[in-house]
């Protein structure tokens, strides 16, 4: 029987790494400041050098383009490097190697590149424009990559194990705002959450919120608030952004007929646009209201608290927009003031 403990989101990531390294000698870690006593900027790998040695916990120079490329070389030889990008924001420096080399190698000539990049993403922490970004849309747009974004400690563990075992390059977006503030049940031992499967985090009949990452917690908060007002919100946690779980997306859209898509990343040309297009194309006749989106503003992530709050979706904003989305149908008979969604886009 599987033991389930309460772990933080961050501890769940560490546990997945530790268990995979114990299981498979081909799994190794690469990244800036991850080794020794230090254990990384967020301490995810603290104690790893002591257990696994310097051979398997490789401190890297400040040269992401070089060491992501090197990880591709190791992966082609059958190793399974897990790269810690110190902040997801810095992944741009390695863009060429990820998009042009790793993403295309298998299609062009059959070279499998089974690495994982752990990218500490997202904000809400007043960390400014270069420590708060959500870069997922670039990689969802890139052929040959897989992209996952866990929103709970259990998924953080299960998706990281799945990513390490996958034979393709996987961008694993971990949500910094959840690191130590989010605690939840996590199965001990071998626990895999398959890539490509969304999860209904809360069931409801009135309106669906489709989201992922740290916005799952915000959506569940909004759902709890609206439940008090008699509105039953369904929350679909995508968990994997590439490949999207189209069946789960269409099932919930057909069920409630009213959909709000939420992500912390900029709304413009974000993952939500693709989800929205999918629903419009495949579930149009089930919709009772136009599809709504809520994402970050089209500005660099600002530092100062009131600015970042204005930039970023929240439980309160989700609740307001979900409520408005639900009313769009009934409003036809009894016009009510609608939210100006443009200010979010």
């Amino acid at each position: 029987m599987t033991t389930v403990r309460e772990l933080t989101y961050l501890a769940a990531i560490s546990e997945a790494l530790r268990e995979e390294m114990r299981r498979d000698p081909d799994v190794l870690l690469m990244g800036e400041d991850i080794g020794g006593e230090f254990g990384g900027a967020f301490k995810v790998t603290k104690g790893f050098t002591a257990e696994f040695g310097e051979r398997r916990v490789l401190n890297m120079p400040l040269a992401e383009l070089g060491f992501v490329g090197a990880a591709s070389g190791m992966a082609l030889m059958g190793l399974r490097p897990v790269i810690e990008m110190q902040f997801a924001d810095f992944i741009t420096t390695a863009f060429d190697s990820i998009v042009q080399f790793a993403g295309t190698a298998h299609y062009r000539w059959g070279g499998a590149v089974p690495w994982v990049i752990r990218a500490p993403a997202d904000g809400g922490l007043t960390a400014g424009p270069f420590h708060s970004q959500n870069p997922e849309a670039w990689f969802v747009h890139t052929p040959g990559l897989k992209v996952v974004a866990p929103g709970t400690p259990a998924d953080a563990k299960g998706l990281l194990i799945a990513a390490i075992r996958d034979n393709n390059p996987v961008i694993y977006l971990e949500s910094k705002p959840l690191y130590r503030s989010e605690t939840g049940p996590v199965p001990a031992g071998d626990y895999v959450v398959p890539i490509g499967q969304a999860h209904v985090a809360r069931t409801g009949d009135d309106v669906t919120v489709i989201t992922y990452g740290a916005m799952v917690r915000e959506a569940l908060g909004a759902a709890a608030t609206l439940a008090d007002e008699g509105i039953a919100v369904e929350v679909l946690d995508l968990r994997t952004l590439k490949p999207l779980d189209t069946d789960a997306i269409l099932a919930t859209a057909r069920k409630t007929g009213k959909v709000l898509i939420v992500h912390a990343a900029n709304q413009l040309a974000g993952v939500g646009a693709e989800v929205s297009a999918l629903i419009a194309a495949e579930a149009f006749q089930w919709l009772d209201a136009s599809i709504q989106r809520l994402g970050g503003l089209d500005v660099p992530v600002p530092f100062s608290p009131p600015l970042e709050e204005a930039y970023r979706p929240s439980a309160a904003k989700i609740a307001a927009l979900a409520c408005a989305t639900r009313r769009l149908l009934t409003c036809k008979d009894k016009p009510e003031p609608q939210m100006d969604t443009d200010k979010h886009g």
Partner: protein, 267 residues
């Protein structure tokens, strides 16, 4: 120089490398013609995408020198598994200006990786002469910045190249780390077929034509007593093989459009 289980990442100018490693001429022509029988099955163009791990070749990508960090990583995997294997790659004088060149050489040096990096200094990055690319014309001197040996060789002297590369490969294999080799040579044609390379002074071309490595090596073989008839025989065998391979590739099918989405992901 390299053992069969050593790994090489060649460029778009290294046709000989692919042949020596065992990629057959019909597969190369197939790649050039976009045929299903080409190395990349029609996925990639001309000499790009000619990776084949059965022959320990990493496929080339146009973003030079993105194969360089990959090759360093291949070498690091040999260290990780305590394998006495060596990785080798080629870059151009143009690629040596890219930031990833520095990042990769530095990484190789820090890890004492068993890698050999050959800069083919063919004097021009497309139309830009090396004199306009860098102030230090001896590209091998960059090795000093990484604390590794840098060796300048006459890239048109077959024996000098063999000896220099063999020494670097041996050095890497015995655990003494990376070597940067600069092979001084000349690009005798345009960057590609569309390029008339009017920007290259014709007297410079004539100067390098007199140093043609194949002619020089043939002359060297004759001084060692190899008969011209034997050299002609080799030429003839090559022509027959290449002609047959071209005919084979021309007759081969184009890829089935229904396969366009296949192979994006590894199973």
């Amino acid at each position: 120089m390299l053992a069969p289980d050593d790994v090489v990442a060649s460029m778009h100018r290294d046709l000989g490398c692919y042949l020596v490693r065992g990629i057959t001429p019909d597969r190369i022509f197939g790649n050039l013609l976009g045929k299903a029988t080409g190395v990349s099955h029609g996925r990639d163009a001309n000499l790009h995408g000619m990776g084949d791990l059965d022959h320990n070749i990493i496929g080339f990508v146009s973003h030079l020198p993105q194969s360089l960090p990959v090759t360093v990583g291949v070498a690091m995997s040999f260290q990780y598994r305590n394998e006495l294997r060596v990785a080798l790659t080629f870059v151009g004088d143009g690629s040596a200006s890219a930031g990833v060149f520095h990042e990769s050489m530095n990484l190789a040096a820090i890890h004492n990786a068993p890698v050999v990096v050959i800069i083919e200094n063919n004097q021009y990055a497309y139309s830009t002469p090396v004199t306009e690319q860098t102030r230090v014309q001896e590209l091998s001197k960059r090795a000093d910045a990484y604390g590794i040996p840098g060796v300048a060789l006459d890239g048109n002297d077959v024996e000098a190249m063999v000896a220099g590369i063999q020494a670097a490969v041996d050095r890497a294999r015995r655990g003494d780390g990376p070597t940067l080799i600069e092979a001084k040579t000349m690009r005798m044609l345009g960057h590609a077929m569309h390029d008339g390379f009017e920007y290259v002074p014709r007297e410079l071309l004539a100067e390098w034509a007199a140093k043609d490595p194949v002619d020089r090596f043939a002359a060297r073989l004759r001084t060692l007593g190899v008969d011209q008839v034997e050299l002609d025989e080799i030429d003839h065998r090559c022509n027959v093989e290449v002609t047959a391979a071209l005919e084979h590739a021309q007759a081969a099918p184009l890829p089935d459009a229904a396969t366009v989405t296949q192979g994006v992901y590894a199973p």
